[in-house]
């Protein structure tokens, strides 16, 4: 995924989007939507991820004219908004009968929605789905931290701010999450120091 780029380029995109330029907003959306969607798939489930992503963007659009900050700040803003949508959704779900597990099962049984997709693209998409599913199987706190860091591209301090945890707790949750993933896939080498450093 191509990064929007240096701060000047981001500032230009943000300024045009704030002025109502649809193409600038679309560029921002294309860059951040995949990570947002994957984060929501991990922490909330595939069946609600798209709806929550849409709600998140609606909130972001409303606040966009007043947003000030760089691209990393925007990512924090985006994922903070998404997280609040997840929390709100969880509260709503508590008031309803618990049918989430059934929906997950039905979603798995649903036929593939992309018959035209083939070859390497399909393989990559399936691999991404499988990876997200694995991360989603981690304990809740670990799954969210891994998702924010790996999928959202956020650093340790940003994850700590979004989740309301201490920086040290985030680091521990991430390390344990990576170790658990390694165990799931049978990676005997597990988590190397070099690997962890790459995500510090």
């Amino acid at each position: 995924m191509r990064s929007v780029g240096v701060d000047d380029e981001w500032a230009g995109l943000l300024g045009r989007a704030q002025a109502g330029d649809e193409r600038a907003f679309a560029a921002i959306w294309r860059h951040h939507q995949p990570g947002l969607l994957r984060y929501l798939e991990i922490v909330a489930g595939r069946h609600v991820a798209e709806d929550l992503a849409a709600e998140t963007w609606v909130s972001v659009v409303r606040s966009l004219p007043r947003f000030r900050g760089g691209e990393s700040g925007f990512k924090s803003f985006l994922f903070t908004t998404a997280r609040s949508r997840v929390v709100d959704g969880a509260r709503r779900a508590k008031a309803r009968p618990q049918v989430a597990s059934d929906i997950d099962t039905l979603a798995d049984l649903a036929p593939a929605a992309e018959p035209a997709e083939a070859g390497a693209a399909l393989e990559q998409r399936e691999a991404t789905k499988a990876a997200l599913d694995l991360i989603a199987r981690l304990p809740e706190g670990q799954a969210e931290v891994v998702a924010l860091r790996v999928v959202g591209g956020l650093d340790n301090s940003e994850v700590a701010r979004i989740t309301g945890k201490r920086s040290g707790a985030v680091r521990v949750a991430y390390s344990r999450g990576i170790a658990a993933l390694a165990a799931m896939v049978g990676d005997r080498d597990g988590v190397t120091d070099a690997h962890l450093r790459a995500f510090r």
Binding site: M1, A54, D108
Partner: protein, 247 residues
């Protein structure tokens, strides 16, 4: 997708993380049109929202003006307005093809503005006196008659007194109205004594003057700032370290 498929896809944790952060698929970007449509509908918010508020207030004003015109028109149609107003309504509504009766007074085929200055033979009643409300029908014409005095009569005696005032040929216009009013109120009313008073209300007034328009500087731009996300949104978060961007 089964767990068996998941575990056989990856052999290292690096593979898992790389797949999780892989480039976007077309499906993940399939909602772009909807997102842009939402963006188009929502922003840029301040100007569009202010126009909406103005439009809403204009609609309310229009409804209010319509109601006032309707109420005035109904009163005019039944001939229940004060004579000056009734005549003005007659003049105005006749021009648009609506037939309403004239006032009971004579010679009031003039515009309302002329009524206010009338001191002579037009026989317009004083705007505040409105003796038609207390005087018998024959007094409402105020065209002739004799009489004087405004004693504290009561019951039918007061009616006779007022009638005589109304028929008094020595009085006319505002003076007659004031005398009638004085007699009817037992000397309490001073209506008609101030000849510079405001004109009678005219139901056919322009609608634009009826409602107070909204201020042009409506603080509508505070509306979107009430969202939860807005308060949670960071302002100027520190720059991400080197690995901030997605692969």
């Amino acid at each position: 997708m089964t767990n068996a498929h998941r575990t056989t896809t990856f052999t290292t944790v690096d593979d898992v993380l790389a797949a999780a952060a892989a480039p976007a698929s077309p499906q993940e970007l399939g909602g772009e049109a909807g997102a842009v449509a939402a963006f188009r509908a929502a922003g840029p918010a301040p100007a569009r929202r202010r126009r909406g508020i103005l439009a809403g207030k204009t609609a309310v004003a229009a409804v209010g003006a319509l109601g006032l015109l309707t109420a005035g028109g109904a009163a005019a149609a039944t001939g229940s307005l004060p004579d000056a107003a009734q005549d003005a309504a007659h003049e105005a509504l006749t021009k648009v093809g609506v037939d309403v009766p004239r006032g009971k007074g004579k010679g009031l085929a003039t515009a309302p503005g002329q009524v206010k200055q009338d001191k002579g033979p037009a026989e317009g009643k004083g705007p505040k006196a409105d003796p038609a409300q207390v005087a018998p029908p024959e007094a409402a014409g105020a065209g002739s008659g004799a009489g004087s005095g405004a004693g504290p009569d009561t019951g039918s005696g007061k009616g006779a007194t007022i009638s005589s005032i109304a028929k008094d040929p020595t009085l006319s216009g505002v003076e007659k109205g004031a005398a009638v009013s004085d007699a009817a109120s037992g000397g309490k009313s001073h209506a008609g004594q101030n000849r510079g008073g405001p004109p009678a209300s005219v139901p056919a007034g322009p609608p634009s003057s009826v409602p107070a328009g909204p201020p042009a500087s409506s603080p509508s731009d505070t509306a979107p700032g009430k969202t939860t996300s807005a308060t949670a949104g960071p302002k100027g978060a520190p720059a991400a370290p080197g690995q901030g961007g997605r692969p």
